[in-house]
């Protein structure tokens, strides 16, 4: 079954919409769902043109497609456990919060907190992602714990903060402090990064581009070839500001 949601023109287009109801499983029971625009409760049909094609008996066969201006819609895919969501344009904050299964594809850019506290499933963002991509919530000790987030473009600051499990793969560059407070999982940055892995405790991070402002508290252990990335990397252990046992691999700049 395919559910197509096309955003309607709104009189106040900057008002955020919170739409955690948009997950595949919910459309098994029809399209009558509640979403929120600012401090007002709305029905899905007040904000979207809804088209349903085909039928489904189980949620894994449901595909939800979002069209139109969706850049202010938050929490799409929150607690999603199966099925798929395709967002043709940009998506607002908190897309895929607590997601445990299924796939989300974003063809445009994603706003901040993409895949926050994710447990499983896959998010693919073909554009850029905002700040706090694949991270956690304020005060929590664990961020993303499982699944995969892949971003074709760049991300903002604090990417994969508190990463505890799963894989975060950024094809472009990240901003400041990617992998800060990492506890586990794997972070791959193909482009550049600033101050990576500040205060990391565990997990591993590979950076193929240039590192700016490398922190002084990483201990260089060895130089090693990483066959899967076809590079020679300097391998650091850290962050030794704490008892960190994380691995940070940075492409060697010197000759080998």
């Amino acid at each position: 079954m395919r559910v197509i949601l096309e955003s309607k023109v709104r009189s106040k287009p900057n008002l955020p919409i919170e739409a955690e109801a948009i997950i595949p499983r919910n459309f098994l029971k029809g399209t009558d769902h509640v979403v929120f625009e600012g401090n007002k409760e709305r029905t899905l049909s007040e904000l979207f043109w809804i088209f349903v094609e085909g039928t489904a008996v189980s949620p894994e066969n449901i595909e939800v497609i979002l069209k139109g201006d969706t850049s202010r819609i938050k929490r799409v895919g929150e607690y999603m456990d199966t099925g798929s969501i395709v967002i043709e344009g940009d998506i607002g904050m908190h897309c895929g919060n607590f997601m445990s299964g299924g796939t989300i594809e974003i063809r445009g850019n994603a706003d901040a907190w993409l895949g926050r506290e994710m447990r499983g499933g896959t998010i693919l963002c073909r554009g850029n992602a905002g700040h706090y991509c694949a991270t956690g919530y304020r005060g929590e000790k664990k961020g993303m714990q499982g699944g995969k987030v892949e971003v074709s473009g760049n991300t903002g600051d604090f990417c994969a903060e508190y990463l505890a499990g799963g894989t975060v793969h950024i094809h472009g560059s990240t901003g400041d402090f990617p992998g800060a407070e990492m506890r586990g999982g794997e972070l791959i940055i193909e482009g550049d990064a600033t101050r990576p892995c500040g205060n990391m405790k565990n997990g591993s991070c590979v950076i193929l581009g240039t590192v700016h402002d490398m922190l002084p508290t990483f201990e260089k252990i060895e130089r090693r070839v990483l066959p899967e990335w076809k590079i020679t990397a300097d391998v650091y252990k850290g962050d030794v500001a704490n008892r960190g046992k994380g691995n940070l691999c940075v492409r060697s700049t010197g000759l080998y």
């Binding site: 901040a112 905002g130 700040h131 903002g156 600051d157 604090f158």
Partner: protein, 130 residues
């Protein structure tokens, strides 16, 4: 000249902060402190005006020498002048880059605007009957 804009509290700014219409406040908040060597490089003297530009806009300030300011930096008191050119990006933290905005500094003959004029430039209307 490329510089980093730093902002902060100062006693004169604090003392006149509740009187933003006053000339004193304007003078205090529109002062731009530079390292004397940077002033020499720009060819300006104490009291000359500089135009400071960022992607967010530009502002005209009065240059003042200060030994304590490092080269390549400028210091402006917290307030509407500095804010006129600071980006509203907060990096997901709620806090703008009040202390690390990249700016371009050049000498200028343009006049200093009043706080009222700055507010009118963004759609406000001065109230000056007190």
């Amino acid at each position: 000249m490329k510089c980093i804009l730093n902002t902060g509290r100062t006693v004169p700014q604090g003392a006149s902060v509740e009187h933003k219409g006053s000339e004193l406040y304007s003078t205090v908040a529109s002062a731009c402190f530079l390292n004397p060597v940077d002033m020499m490089m720009l060819g300006i003297e104490n009291g000359d005006r500089v135009r400071v530009t960022t992607p967010a806009g530009h502002i005209v300030l009065t240059a003042r020498p200060a030994e304590g300011v490092a080269r390549g930096e400028i210091f402006v008191a917290i307030g509407p002048y500095a804010n006129h050119i600071i980006s509203s990006e907060t990096h997901g933290t709620g806090m703008p880059d009040f202390k690390s905005q990249s700016v371009d500094v050049e000498p200028t003959e343009e006049p200093i605007k009043s706080v009222g004029e700055l507010m009118e430039a963004i759609g406000g209307l001065r109230y000056d009957r007190t």
